[in-house]
């Protein structure tokens, strides 16, 4: 930013030698944003999804069952994926990809001498499938599920699953991408052994010319997520019985290393009280959750803690949160707690991935 301004100042001051100057001081090819490595905090975020679930139009027009509930209750590792080049989701292509990936894993096995997954003796077999029910808008590509099973001794019986990965996108509104050549599936949920994960990701990078990075959630993002989702207990279920069932709001802070004898501080607030706080912070009519509301919510909780313990939680690092929607860990782990919230959580992750990519 500083350099750009100085360029502008120079060209304004000495217009007669502008042409000369411009040749020498051409505007930098790098983005202005490289000086600010972190993205700007948005002023507000949407709480709910814009679109309702769409029913896929298949040729045979039978309703395909939604597999959203398979995402619930499992701990996933989240990766961010740049748009995939020349990826097609027709059945024949998916079968091709399955064969390629199985061959790749087989090759890795021969290279290393042991199977990619240490437990399986006979190698692995991969398969690509469409996963319905996750994509919402017309813009979203249908989600893809990648499964790797270990081969058992008799080829007919399927071994146990050693890797599950789901490439998905919910309400993707990224920059205009070249729709003919690229497919945007920015969120990759992964559950599997470390070795197999590494190989599958390497193959995807080679095959589709994309970048796959582990998504980490800095404390600011965790604070946004916990503030947004604490109030998601819907009103019609607001009886005492229902509130007891919902997990409470939990914030886990890790203590700096200089403090000996203490590693983490966890603050848990009962679900009903968390909802009360959320209601008093949030403007009921709007669908957006603003930055001021998020700040008041978090600062209110920290002040409540400070009044009792005289410890400033803002000096600690937030490393794990629990809300009624999901458990989220700073190192990129997520566990979605109910089917209703799957779309909201995935929509938020899609937004985070698109925000973190620099705009052209």
């Amino acid at each position: 930013m500083a350099m750009d301004r100085s360029h502008m100042a120079l060209s304004q001051v000495t217009p007669q030698v502008t042409s000369n100057l411009q040749q020498q001081t051409r505007s930098t090819p790098w983005l202005a944003r490289r000086h600010t490595p972190y993205t700007k905090t948005p002023k507000s975020r949407r709480l709910t999804c814009k679109a309702t679930r769409r029913i896929p139009r298949t040729a045979r027009s039978r309703t395909v069952t939604s597999r959203v509930n398979e995402l619930v209750g499992k701990t996933w590792r989240v990766y961010s994926v740049s748009p995939l080049h020349s990826f097609t989701s027709t059945r024949s292509h998916l079968r091709n990809y399955s064969r390629h990936l199985s061959a790749y894993l087989e090759a890795e096995r021969h290279k290393g001498g042991i199977a990619v997954d240490v437990q399986s003796e006979f190698g692995e077999k991969a398969s690509f499938n469409l996963m319905h029910g996750i994509a919402l808008t017309e813009e979203d590509a249908e989600a893809i599920e990648i499964t790797v099973r270990s081969r058992s001794q008799n080829g007919s019986k399927d071994g146990k699953i050693v890797f599950t990965g789901i490439l998905c996108s919910v309400e993707y509104d990224g920059v205009n991408i070249d729709k003919e050549n690229f497919v945007a599936l920015p969120v990759f949920l992964v559950k599997g052994t470390a070795a197999v994960t590494r190989h599958v990701i390497a193959w995807l990078k080679i095959q589709f010319d994309c970048r796959i990075n582990m998504m980490r959630f800095p404390p600011m993002e965790l604070a946004w997520m916990v503030s947004m989702w604490s109030g998601l207990i819907s009103d019609d279920e607001n009886s005492d019985v229902a509130v007891v069932r919902f997990p409470s709001l939990e914030l886990m802070y890790s203590v700096p290393e200089e403090v000996k004898g203490l590693k983490s501080i966890t603050m848990t607030v009962k679900a009903g009280d968390a909802k009360l706080l959320w209601d008093s912070v949030h403007d009921q009519d709007s669908d957006d959750f603003t930055e001021e509301e998020m700040e008041s919510f978090i600062l209110g909780l920290e002040a409540h803690f400070f009044a009792h313990f005289k410890i400033n939680l803002a000096a600690m690092t937030l490393c794990r949160i629990t809300s009624s929607a999901a458990f989220i860990g700073a190192e990129g782990r997520v566990k979605i707690l109910s089917e209703k919230h799957v779309h909201q959580v995935l929509r938020h992750f899609t937004k985070l991935v698109t925000e973190s990519r620099p705009l052209k």
Binding site: G261, L262, K263, S264, I265, T266, M267, T268, V269, K270, D273, L276, L277, S280, V281, E295, S296, F297, L299, G300, L301, E302, A303, H304, F305, A307, H308, F309
Partner: protein, 318 residues
């Protein structure tokens, strides 16, 4: 065969450096005989263990000896188990008779009470002021599992007993037997649990004597009247004094803080705390940031947990 198997299991838990010391304390095998056939430095642990098991089998080892060995090992490494503290209370005894602190009497009465419920083996071994019990309950079948062995630490004349984990099926019976044998009427499980036995014992037994009062308990209050006082004042040759350009910005604050901490907690070593949980039910105190909560007087339920998730170095293998 069963005895030899449990002996082997116990020996496998030892660290290589512990063998000589523990075997000397045990005194079942003559240590000089062992030195003849085992080189404790050079041989692998498996060889050492199998050699010792051989010798013990030849000497016809009995379960009692194995139990004693186990107790010695546990007393040396008390921080491997998860201990729970129980408080015993009795109805006011009119004649105020003191309970016996005879270890053998205690052991016998406990054995008698336990015999009502299970087939078991009970052994004891004193350590300092406390008495350790090792209770091995004979389950159905030949297989011996670690969950069938319960360790209990009792300080006679105190109203606390500390036990290791007890299986749910046995818990009620064991606690009933303990209650009857110690002639108490009520047993309450305290919210005090942890791995560090010494800290637990300190906190329960010397509850009124913590913090700055611990200086009296640990004999730090009175100075030694026969000790010589330093009369010659030596020059301060600490490295900080030499660097005269070093200044401390908030020396007064630091000193005040240290003074306050020492006043409250004392200068001795503090008991190790692994986890501290507070349950709060108070009015919301963050109203400065959330003005809409100003009118609310209903309490907010909050749980705060301070954790020290360190790993104590111990190995416990079956």
């Amino acid at each position: 065969m069963d005895v030899v198997l449990s002996l082997r299991r116990i020996l496998n838990r030892f660290k290589k450096t512990d063998f000589v010391e523990i075997l000397k304390t045990w005194n079942f095998i003559n240590i000089d005989d062992l030195y003849a056939s085992i080189d404790f430095q050079r041989n692998t642990k498996t060889t050492i263990v199998s050699r010792i098991t051989e010798i013990c089998r030849e000497k016809n080892i009995r379960p009692y000896h194995v139990a004693q060995l186990d107790l010695i090992y546990q007393q040396k490494n008390p921080n491997c188990k998860n201990w729970t503290v129980f408080k015993l209370s009795q109805t006011s005894d009119k004649n105020g008779k003191q309970e016996t602190a005879e270890y053998s009497v205690l052991e016998d009465s406990l054995r008698q009470q336990l015999a009502v419920f299970f087939r078991h083996d009970l052994d004891s071994r004193p350590q300092g002021e406390s008495l350790w019990f090792r209770l091995h309950i004979h389950g159905i079948g030949v297989q011996v599992s670690t969950s069938d062995v319960i360790y209990m630490v009792y300080h006679p004349h105190s109203s606390y007993i500390i036990t290791s984990a007890i299986k749910v099926t046995y818990k009620d019976y064991v606690l009933q037997a303990v209650l009857t044998s110690l002639k108490c009427t009520q047993l309450k499980e305290l919210q005090l649990r942890g791995k560090n036995l010494k800290s637990l014992a300190d906190m329960t037994l010397y509850q009124q004597c913590q913090g700055s009062f611990s200086q009296y308990r640990l004999n730090q209050a009175d100075c030694n009247p026969l000790g010589r006082k330093k009369t010659i004042k030596r020059k301060d040759s600490s490295p900080d004094a030499l660097r005269s350009r070093l200044t401390y910005e908030n020396l007064q604050d630091k000193k005040a803080r240290i003074c306050k901490t020492e006043e409250t907690f004392g200068t001795s070593q503090q008991p190790t705390l692994e986890r501290l949980t507070f349950q709060l039910k108070t009015r919301f105190r963050g109203q400065h940031h959330i003005p809409a909560m100003v009118g609310h007087h209903s309490p907010i339920h909050c749980t705060v947990k301070f954790e020290e998730i360190g790993r104590a170095s111990c190995r416990e293998r079956v």
